[in-house]
């Protein structure tokens, strides 16, 4: 399996405060990886550093090319979709406009309409609401919209920041099922940051555990799930 | 929203020191105070007059700073309160022969009332809408002062002449010098009161509104009351500055209080550093002296020179004099270490 994203010695700073202390990990193509950790461990910062949304040093390579010097929008244009924490919905635009914005950098205009239809297949609830202002959707629906918007980029890699945050358990199950489907059927490599470790480990094939800005454990998701420390700290049994 | 909050959180230079510092240290304060007390003894009367105006505008900038830096509201209408203060003083002195010193508290109280009342509708507005509302007030003020039925009191377009007071108790001071020290005393009083206000419980309440209005109200801060009070206090201080200005210039007329004055005061606040009270005097110096300097460089292009100088200031120190002070402070700290 080829490596899709390779991160080496990533350090990130908020002003004077260092949030990541030399993080290294890699994602192989087609994998679904989860990044686990407690509050403040640096999960969100890791995703933001990959997209250059926070001051950072270290080497980030995407499909073999270094991307550390690119602006956020140019990282995205390479095919890296980032679903941020809090979803980043364009609340005063319609659902359909949000989806179109996801594809705004694509040259193949003809396929966009078809792709929007595909998103409606994945997330039927969006179809019912396509003329509605996105701000009027419920939290779960907005999360669906955020994922759909990211997929409209036809990304090679998708970064998701706590997609389960604030959602009802049933909705989370549904969302994760769809993420698995996207990973298998559309061959999108996925990196998902989660606090809901149990669900994330069920879904993922690879897992990393991060503590205070450092990777402390990595491996096959099943092995990680069976690890004594992980079970105690993150799974609670 | 926004403005003042960003000033505090985004400044890279601000991080090393207490973030909410709105004042100077004791040592620096004493040096500045000494300079303000001693300089007039060695300069000509015209310079003393300019220094008096410097203090007066500094008061007006300070007032705006309390409003914007303190409560996060934004006003382009300060010239209106300045005008009201000036006219109250002028009318009391010339029509009722009230002692000049006694007119100032009256000007302050009248303007406090006006500001408090104006703060009521302003409560529902924020950001640009509030800017427009205050802007309208500033535009309307000269026209209102010219109104026919007020002419008996205001002197209409002609305005009123104000007599300059002599030094009391036969002190051997020229009128200009006496007025300067009088203004200095008033300014120090107001400055100290303002610093204490912002450090008090009410000051913290104001700043909590500035930083997050919703959170503030959730913590039990009476947002409406404090916002209108901030308007009132700001207007009151501006009114006192206006009264002093009327005495110093010896003249009030509607066209002395146009929107240009309000814009100048705003520029003064930005140059001094939003929310940093000592910066008010730096900002005041900028709006008094820079137009003169610009005129000196080029008569025809004085506006352009002023604009370029203003651009230079905001490029080099986007957070105004406050940023300079912080850099100096850090340098001093480094020197001490070595």
């Amino acid at each position: 399996m080829t490596t899709m994203l390779n991160v080496k010695d990533l350090r990130a700073y908020y002003g004077q405060v260092q949030a990541l202390h030399g993080l290294s990990f890699s994602l192989s193509e087609g994998s679904l990886t989860t990044l686990l950790g407690a509050n403040g461990a640096g999960k969100t910062t890791t995703l933001r550093a990959i997209c250059n949304m926070v001051r950072s040093t270290g080497a980030v390579e995407f499909e073999g090319k270094p991307i550390g010097n690119r602006s956020t929008e140019n990282v995205v244009r390479l095919g890296i979709a980032h679903v941020p924490q809090g979803r980043g919905t364009f609340t005063n635009m319609t659902v359909e406009e949000n989806l179109q914005l996801g594809a705004i950098t694509r040259g193949d205009k003809k396929n966009i309409v078809a792709d929007i239809e595909r998103m409606y297949d994945h997330f039927p609830v969006l179809k019912q609401r396509y003329t509605q202002q996105a701000g009027t959707l419920s939290g779960g629906e907005q999360q669906m919209l955020a994922v759909a918007r990211a997929l409209m980029l036809r990304p090679r890699l998708m970064l998701l920041d706590e997609p389960s945050f604030g959602l009802a358990p049933l909705v989370v199950r549904d969302l994760f099922r769809i993420l698995g489907k996207i990973n298998r059927e559309d061959k999108v490599t996925i990196l998902v940051v989660e606090q809901n470790a149990q669900l994330a480990l069920e879904l993922a094939d690879q897992a990393y555990v991060i503590e205070t800005g450092r990777i402390v454990m990595s491996g096959n998701a099943k092995d990680v799930a069976n690890n004594e420390d992980v079970r105690k700290s993150y799974l609670g049994y | 929203m926004s403005a003042a909050e960003e000033v505090v959180t985004e400044a890279p230079a601000v991080e090393a020191v207490p973030k909410r510092a709105m004042t100077l240290g004791y040592g620096t304060s004493l040096v500045v105070l000494a300079a303000l007390i001693l300089t007039p003894l060695f300069v000509k009367n015209f310079v003393i007059f300019q220094m008096t105006m410097l203090l007066i505008y500094a008061l007006a900038v300070l007032a705006l700073n309390i409003l914007t830096g303190g409560s996060g509201q934004f006003s382009l209408g300060q010239s209106a309160f300045y005008a009201i203060g000036a006219y109250v003083t002028a009318i009391l002195m010339e029509h009722f022969n009230v002692n000049y010193a006694l007119t100032l508290p009256v000007a302050g109280v009248v303007c406090f009332g006006a500001g408090f009342l104006f703060g009521q509708p302003a409560l529902r507005l924020s950001g640009i809408y509030l800017a427009l509302a205050t802007f309208a007030l500033a535009l309307a003020m000269p026209q209102l002062l010219k109104l026919g039925f007020l002419e008996h009191w205001t002197g209409g377009v002609q305005g009123l002449v104000v007599t300059k007071p002599d030094a009391p108790f036969g002190l051997p001071l020229s009128q200009d010098m006496w007025l300067y020290y009088f203004t200095l005393a008033v300014s120090i009083g107001i400055y100290v009161a303002s610093v204490n206000l912002l450090r008090s419980r009410s000051g913290r309440a104001l700043m909590s509104i500035r930083d997050n209005e919703i959170a503030a109200s959730a913590m039990g801060v009476n947002v409406a009351l404090y916002k209108t009070l901030a308007f009132g206090v700001s207007a009151g201080i501006t009114g006192i500055a206006g009264g002093l200005g009327a005495i110093a210039v010896q003249f009030v007329a509607p066209d002395g209080y146009t929107i240009t004055l309000a814009i100048s005061l705003f520029v003064g606040m930005v140059v001094g550093g939003v929310g940093w009270l000592p910066g008010s005097i730096v900002g005041s110096a900028f709006i008094i002296f820079v137009p003169n300097i610009a005129e000196g460089i080029s008569k025809g292009l004085s506006g352009a020179v002023f604009g370029v100088l203003l651009f230079l200031v905001i490029y080099l120190v986007p957070h105004g004099a406050r940023q300079v002070a912080l850099i100096a402070q850090q340098l001093a700290a480094k020197l001490k270490k070595n």
Partner: protein, 292 residues
């Protein structure tokens, strides 16, 4: 009744001026989330450029189109050179930048073209429109151009990808970057478009108020007021706001005793503030809903 109808008509005629300027205001507000205090001066400068071209013998429409193009480029240039470096500075610092730009443009225009009043031609003629003495063909033409501009902007924002991208960049810059939009250039583009629309407004207004460096001062205030009244997020609202302000102002001058010319503006503004107190997002603006 006839007086009333006439005043309304005259109000619409002046309202066209405000509406035109208000469109430029909404444009820049969409791009940078602020009111640009120097916008009127930029429009004045553009108008002077077109006047200069006509003095050199360029025909009206040639000068018109050239000026719009030059203003578009000039707006982008100003943003790149002067305001991009301020992107991370506090908001109020940016406002001070607008004030500085105002002083510079006004002063330079005064130096090049001096402060005497100049006649400015109109392509529509100035005979009475449809036999009414209150509205001239020029003013009718202005209403027409304003409506055309409005339609054009509506199409641009609703149906083009770049219009959508601009709206996205204005409403949520970070999310916009995350879908790959270069937000910095969207701002520059907004400046360019606002400057171009301002130029059109200036060239239409100049025949009415005459050409001189201070011609836009009052107009810009009315433009702000109209845009705010209509709702800063809505081009249609801005245009309607412009006509409403024009009509208000005329009616107040006619029917409220003691108002006269001097107090027209304060009264119009007071009325607008009253409207805002009741409807803080303007008549046609989208209310901003915040989730805590």
């Amino acid at each position: 009744m006839e007086l009333f109808a006439n005043q309304v008509l005259a109000g619409i005629a002046t309202g066209a001026i405000y509406a035109c300027m208000a469109l430029a205001v909404v444009m820049i507000y969409q791009a940078i989330d602020h009111l640009n205090f120097a916008q009127g001066e930029m429009a004045m400068f553009s108008t002077f450029m077109s006047w200069q071209m006509m003095q050199w013998g360029v025909p009206y429409w040639g000068a018109f189109i050239l000026t719009v193009i030059l203003s578009f480029a000039g707006g982008i240039l100003i943003e790149r050179l002067l305001f991009k470096p301020l992107a991370k500075a506090p908001v109020l610092t940016n406002v001070a930048g607008f004030i500085a730009l105002f002083a510079i443009v006004n002063s330079v225009a005064g130096l090049i073209w001096d402060f005497t009043i100049k006649q400015y031609p109109t392509p529509f003629g100035s005979s009475p429109f449809l036999g009414s003495q209150l509205i001239s063909t020029h003013q009718a033409g202005m209403v027409g151009v304003t409506l055309l501009l409005l339609a054009g902007l509506y199409f641009f924002f609703q149906f083009t990808r770049i219009g959508l991208a601009m709206r996205a960049a204005a409403s949520l810059p970070e999310s916009a970057r995350l879908v790959g939009i270069n937000t910095s250039w969207m701002i520059a583009l907004g400046w360019g478009m606002a400057s171009a629309i301002g130029a059109i407004a200036g060239m239409l207004i100049a025949p009415v108020v005459f050409l001189e460096p201070n011609m836009m001062g009052g107009v810009l205030i009315y433009g702000f007021a109209s845009a705010v009244l209509g709702g800063l997020s809505s081009p249609l609202g801005a245009v309607i706001g412009g006509f409403l302000v024009g009509v208000f102002e005329n009616l107040a001058g006619t029917y409220i005793p003691g108002v006269g010319n001097e107090l027209k503006l304060p009264i119009a503004l007071a009325l607008i503030i009253t409207v805002l107190v009741v409807k803080p997002a303007g008549l046609f603006g989208r209310p901003i809903v915040k989730r805590v």
